[in-house]
């Protein structure tokens, strides 16, 4: 059991002046697990990644990767890890190959092995054709693939991915996600990724830690997290009613089995309900109002719902309001400083 743990955090804390970005976080990540850190912007995800990848020193607490302490044995840790940060780690004026060769040399990889590996990696992300083109001429999707591949040069046992699909078009997003899955499966790489997108965490991660205000508020598999929101008898229905009226909504809200009704647009409503008879009761109530039902969809609770349930806020609300309310105009400066350290 002990041997299964790849990453171990114990009361890991980071303070910036009087602001606590990461507040006594403890958790384990198992070998070859994909672990997701999910939370709104500014929750402390990036700071955790930066501490684990030895770029920032914790104020308090410790963490080990592969048994090595991230502060005392930082160079041992660095051998084991790869980092895909939010910003592209690539020099625009150098070609794809030159970039990879430069970073590879920092790991003391012998020349022949390195050249071979660069060839394989470029092939893997279908960039072989562009190996002698400057990275500055690449599209965002190509750059991100390069960014991921760069982190794999030293064949890391642990890969950190900070918002790996941020700013990518849907096609590139899918490509990068598939690639992450592939790395995890084929190389048994342990992966920690951060995201603010619920569906991404849901699709990629074995376990998810929900972070809010620098603390882990929930940690489990996506299935179990969803059960937190709803018992096994919970139903989420999405109805399309072209002639939807206010009266129908009020009527449904008054039903015993209905927990909440959310109107999504002029014709769509989402209903959270409990009990085995919920489905029938809702349909009957709608029918009684002469409603025309175009479609009914039974939904699984999303992580969006989980977050809402745990923090009592929507992800977006938080990201938009927290910064000005809590820290005032100075907060922007704080974030900038934190980034560059």
């Amino acid at each position: 059991m002990e041997n299964d743990v790849m990453i171990e955090l114990k009361n890991l804390t980071k303070k910036f002046n009087d602001f606590t970005a990461v507040d006594h976080i403890s958790f384990d990540v198992k070998k070859s697990e994909v672990f997701g850190l999910l939370g709104p912007n500014g929750a402390g995800k990036t700071t955790i990644i930066r501490m684990l990848s030895t770029l920032t020193r914790p104020t308090e607490g410790t963490a080990t990767i592969g048994g090595y302490d991230i502060v005392k044995q930082d160079n041992k840790v660095r051998q084991l890890i790869g980092l895909v940060s939010e910003k592209m780690i690539m020099y625009d004026r150098l070609t794809a190959k030159e970039n990879l060769r430069f970073f590879g040399k920092l790991y003391n990889i012998p020349k022949n092995t390195l050249n071979e590996r660069i060839g394989e990696l470029l092939e893997l992300v279908q960039l072989t054709k562009w190996k002698d083109s400057k990275v500055g001429t690449f599209s965002t999707g190509m750059r991100q693939r390069m960014n991921v591949v760069r982190a794999l040069l030293n064949m890391p046992k642990v890969l950190f991915l900070d918002e790996p699909t941020l700013g990518l078009d849907p096609q590139s997003t899918v490509e990068v996600r598939e690639f992450i899955k592939k790395i995890n499966k084929e190389n048994k790489t342990t992966i920690i990724l951060t995201t603010h997108m619920m569906n991404e965490a849901d699709r990629l991660c074995d376990r998810i830690g929900i972070i809010d205000n620098g603390q882990i508020t929930a940690l489990d598999t996506s299935t179990n997290l969803k059960k937190l929101v709803s018992g096994d008898d919970a139903t989420v229905l999405k109805l399309e009613i072209p002639n939807l009226t206010k009266k129908m909504v009020t009527k449904m809200e008054s039903l015993d089995c209905v927990k909440s009704v959310a109107q999504e647009n002029a014709s769509h409503i989402k209903i959270h309900a409990t009990g085995d008879k919920a489905f029938d009761a809702i349909i009957d109530a709608v029918r009684a109002e002469n409603a025309k039902i175009n479609s009914i969809e039974k939904l699984q609770p999303t992580l969006e719902d989980v977050f809402l349930h745990i923090t009592g806020r929507e992800v977006r609300d938080k990201a938009d309001t927290k910064i000005p309310v809590k820290h005032g105009p100075g907060h922007r400066g704080f974030r900038q400083r934190r980034r560059v350290r």
Partner: protein
């Protein structure tokens, strides 16, 4: 640190330096500026800074009020003839005539002329009667530099004229013509530089510009290069690799040194081939001095880098420090020309010593034994700054 660790550190720094230089050479616009900047600097300060032989096309209004003596006006007409001769044969000045002092003043106020020469009404009569003839020079006080220079030039012209006249006079008193000059002017003052050959302002300013360019590349180049990588995120890529933190700064510094020396070389080549600058001392010593310049400023550059978190601050900080350094270190103006408190300030700036030593070697042909004071100060300053810089940088990198 083990030997293996040291070897790795050196090899990683060279990797980083090579990468940086590759980036510099791929940036065409930057490369052009790298060469153009020192040329601009040379041309600008070289041609704008006034010197005696650069004074040309000064417009002078001439007023002849001389009424003559017994029908003779030969004293003033001789003077005018000589002035006109000088006017035609050189492009020093352009003569125009005016009628009175008031008109000359008006012309200066309007900006039509730069100065005026007034020959007094009793000029010929005074000279004929054994008195001094008065010539008034009207100058433009709003342009002090030029008026004082013009004054010096005209003073010389009039002195020569006066001497010629005096020679004639003493000859008429029975002095042997071959001795007449010695009677009138017993002293023969000659100026000779310590080094043979023509000496221009370029010779004075070129060593300073070279020193300054090299200093700039280390002091501004380094913080800008590091904060640029920090902001773009690429610095993380290096820091996350198992390399010594020092190899990052060492590599970046090596790249800046390469860039600085290259720029220094470009200026030397331009100065020698286009501006007639002669290097009288050893060229090897010049390069050794440039390397020392780099060494003495690197520590300061690193300290400043550690304290600047973003590019904007880095650039601003650099400008603030660079500007006084440029003007107080005797790059453009001789230090001796400054008031005493400025001279004191100048004496604590390391650039003063680089400029001084470089000037001694390049202009005066000094050898290494003649610049030991400067060398000692620069080595001392560099060592102290690097000793401060290393721990400060290490701390700044892992906060």
């Amino acid at each position: 640190m083990s030997r293996m660790g040291a070897k790795n550190m050196i090899s990683h720094s060279f990797r980083i330096a090579w990468k940086d230089l590759l980036e510099v050479f791929r940036n065409r616009m930057g490369l052009v500026l790298l060469i153009l900047m020192p040329i601009f600097m040379m041309v600008m300060v070289g041609y704008i800074y006034p010197s005696d032989n650069s004074l040309s096309n000064v417009t002078v209004a001439l007023v002849n009020e001389d009424v003559g003596y017994g029908g003779y006006t030969n004293a003033s007409s001789t003077l005018i003839a000589i002035l006109e001769n000088a006017n035609n044969s050189t492009d020093l000045m352009t003569l125009t005539t005016a009628s009175s002092f008031d008109e000359v003043r008006e012309m200066i106020q309007r900006g039509d002329v730069d100065a005026g020469i007034i020959i007094s009404s009793d000029f010929t009569s005074s000279i004929m009667n054994g008195q001094q003839g008065t010539i008034t020079l009207v100058t433009d006080q709003s342009n002090l530099q030029m008026s004082s220079m013009l004054q010096a030039v005209l003073q010389e012209v009039f002195d020569q004229l006066g001497t010629g006249l005096a020679q004639q006079n003493v000859q008429s008193l029975g002095v042997d013509p071959s001795n007449s000059l010695a009677v009138v002017q017993p002293y023969n003052v000659q100026t000779e530089g310590a080094i043979e050959g023509d000496f221009s302002y370029f010779d004075f300013v070129a060593p300073g510009i070279i020193a300054m360019t090299v200093m700039m590349s280390v002091m501004t180049g380094l913080p800008v290069a590091i904060s640029e990588e920090r902001e773009s995120g690429t610095l993380d890529g290096m820091m996350v690799a198992p390399i010594s933190r020092l190899s990052v700064i060492l590599g970046k510094t090596l790249a800046q040194i390469g860039r600085g020396l290259l720029q220094g070389l470009i200026i030397i080549v331009i100065a020698v081939s286009f501006f007639g600058v002669t290097i009288h001392g050893s060229i090897l010593l010049v390069f050794a001095l440039l390397l020392l310049c780099v060494f003495s400023f690197v520590g300061l550059g690193i300290v400043l880098t550690s304290f600047t978190k973003d590019q904007e601050t880095a650039t601003m900080l650099m400008t603030t420090i660079m500007f006084p350094m440029m003007f107080l270190s005797g790059v453009f103006f001789p230090i001796e020309q400054m008031p005493w408190f400025m001279q004191t300030l100048s004496n604590v700036l390391p650039l003063t010593y680089v400029t001084g030593a470089l000037r001694k070697v390049m202009v005066l042909g000094a050898d290494i034994s003649m610049i030991t004071t400067e060398l000692a100060i620069l080595i001392g300053f560099g060592t102290v700054m690097i000793a401060i810089a290393v721990p400060v940088f290490k701390r700044a990198m892992t906060s």
